[in-house]
């Protein structure tokens, strides 16, 4: 089942998209863990230059697996892309290491933040530039550039990352990735476990980075509402398949999306239980 919700697309955007190849193209990939567990069953998606694309879906849908396939971090978790291909800037990534991709400008910010707890906030940021050979002065400059986006981190620069708040850790993780000077970020659930105002603060910064640094973003989120507010385009993943995709605005207005992912329907808010049984029925029929 694949409901297409691409309504009257803006002409000029379509023409432009055709002229410029996507930064990232995932073509029909299948991913298997431990040689037996099939998790992705033919996922395709594209991220155009300079856009924010959201990858939405519930627990275990395969969002993180998709991001790790792209960054090739999957290999260290005994996962493998067994079919399809992934191209970053027109180059296939399957033979590359995460480090090589970082060098090419593709950095993943992993789910759960993964700060270096025993390093200070600033040391965390500095490690982001590890693979670049830059001098002290330039390093200082880059740090200031990051602090301009994350003023909170400047205040907390000498605290151990392990002792900073969840929101600050998320900022450290994103800031650290930006220190690699990427042209594309893969963000895995930046909203996870954070209060709504902090989520909003972080997403505002992400949008800022997207607009001012021109970094393209693929964003995996369970928080459909927030993600669609900041994204240009969205894909909805369920059980390892893309069920739906379209411009973020159209998705946010879509009846099924409202019902299943935004917890609303024409009769107003539905209870979680109704939703679940309905989903179950729908899947098994």
């Amino acid at each position: 089942m694949n409901v297409s919700v691409a309504p009257a697309v803006d002409r000029s955007a379509a023409v432009q998209a055709a002229a410029q190849p996507p930064v990232l193209a995932v073509k029909n990939i299948e991913v298997i863990y431990n040689h037996v567990i099939l998790v992705l069953r033919g996922v395709s998606l594209e991220v155009p230059q300079g856009k924010i694309v959201a990858l939405l879906g519930g627990n275990g849908a395969g969002k993180s697996t998709t991001l790790k396939s792209i960054s090739t971090l999957l290999a260290s978790e005994r996962g493998a892309v067994t079919k399809g291909s992934i191209e970053f800037r027109g180059q296939r990534t399957d033979q590359l290491t995460p480090g090589e991709l970082v060098g090419m400008g593709l950095v993943q910010v992993m789910e759960g933040r993964h700060c270096f707890g025993h390093l200070t906030a600033e040391e965390n940021l500095i490690t982001g530039a590890y693979a670049r050979s830059i001098g002290r002065a330039q390093l200082r400059e880059e740090l200031d550039r990051i602090y301009a986006y994350f003023p909170r981190l400047k205040v907390r620069r000498s605290s151990l990352a392990g002792y900073t708040s969840g929101g600050e850790q998320q900022m450290i993780a994103i800031g650290r990735a930006m220190m690699a000077k990427p042209s594309m970020l893969l963000l895995d659930e930046p909203s996870m476990g954070l209060a709504p105002q902090i989520v909003a603060e972080i997403f505002e910064i992400v949008r800022d980075l997207n607009q001012k640094e021109g970094v393209s973003i693929l964003l995996a989120e369970q928080n459909t509402n927030v993600a669609l507010k900041y994204a240009d385009y969205g894909y909805i993943l369920e059980s390892g398949r893309i069920m739906l995709d379209g411009p973020a605005k159209a998705l946010a207005e879509n009846k099924d999306v409202k019902e299943f992912y935004l917890g609303m329907s024409s009769e107003g808010r539905k209870s979680f239980r109704d939703m679940k049984s309905y989903r179950r029925r729908k899947r098994w029929v």
């Binding site: 960054s71 971090l73 290999a75 260290s76 005994r78 995460p98 480090g99 991709l101 970082v102 060098g103 950095v107 993943q108 910010v109 992993m110 993964h114 700060c115 270096f116 707890g117 025993h118 390093l119 040391e123 965390n124 500095i126 490690t127 982001g128 590890y130 693979a131 993780a173 650290r176 990735a177 220190m179 690699a180």
Partner: protein, 300 residues
Amino acid sequence: MPDFWFFLEVLVGGLLSGTMYALVALGFVLIYKASSVFNFAQGAMVFFAVLSFVGFMELGLPFWAALPVTVGLMILVGMGTERFVLRPLVNQSEDTLLMATIGLAFVIEGVAQLAWGVDVRRLDLGIRDEPINWVMDKTGMLVSQLDVTAALVAGIMVAALALLFSHTKVGRGLRAVADDHAAALSIGIPLKHIWMLVWATAGVVALVAGMLWGARSGVQFALVWVALKALPVLIIGGFTSVPGVILAGLIVGAIEKIGEVFIGPYVGGGIEGWSPYMLAVLFLLIRPEGLFGEKIIRRV
């Protein structure tokens, strides 16, 4: 001589020999932190290192030439181990890696004896295992020159490593890898370089530990068992804590000497051999993560 001075003498002697336990344990911790490998071969590396050093001297190299040559050799052994034994096993379980290092221990011990023979050698560093005179005159305590020198060398080694970790780029990278492998990988820190560095460093630490132990008790196969003394030190200090194992080394050294001298006579001696293990078992029961070790968290 008042009892106090005698107690102090025993304590100091224990603490000084404890620094050497700490040094052996430090080699373990470095590797364990950076790559989650429990390097069973650390003891074998200690033996191999000092045996090679003595071997080079027997071949006619003077001390100051044999030292850098052996340092170079140990760097090669460390890096080679990482490259040819552990890297092919990357992503295997910790148990598999432990098995690999157990095998490696036998290989290193075998190669060492094959290359240099099985005789017990003496290693003369020009420092006597005799009491320092002015300490004896002032306080009546017998404090061995060799022990003091060994403790100083161990202290300098630890300080140098601490500086390396806190103030250099690779040091920062190493701490990052130790904290979170996956995150380090995700931002492009070259794990392989870091692992090589760690193994090379562990090789050099093994050499220093081997020379200090060898000067004291002869260069012989029994040095391999010194590494077994490092096990209680590791348990008490915590497998991931450098300050923890240093403190634990001192504690183990002090406990075994004090136990031997003051409690030993009542129970028929032999305390030196088992008291560290007793203490380690106590720690396992009460504080399994060790003094400063992190709570054991399995990373996904």
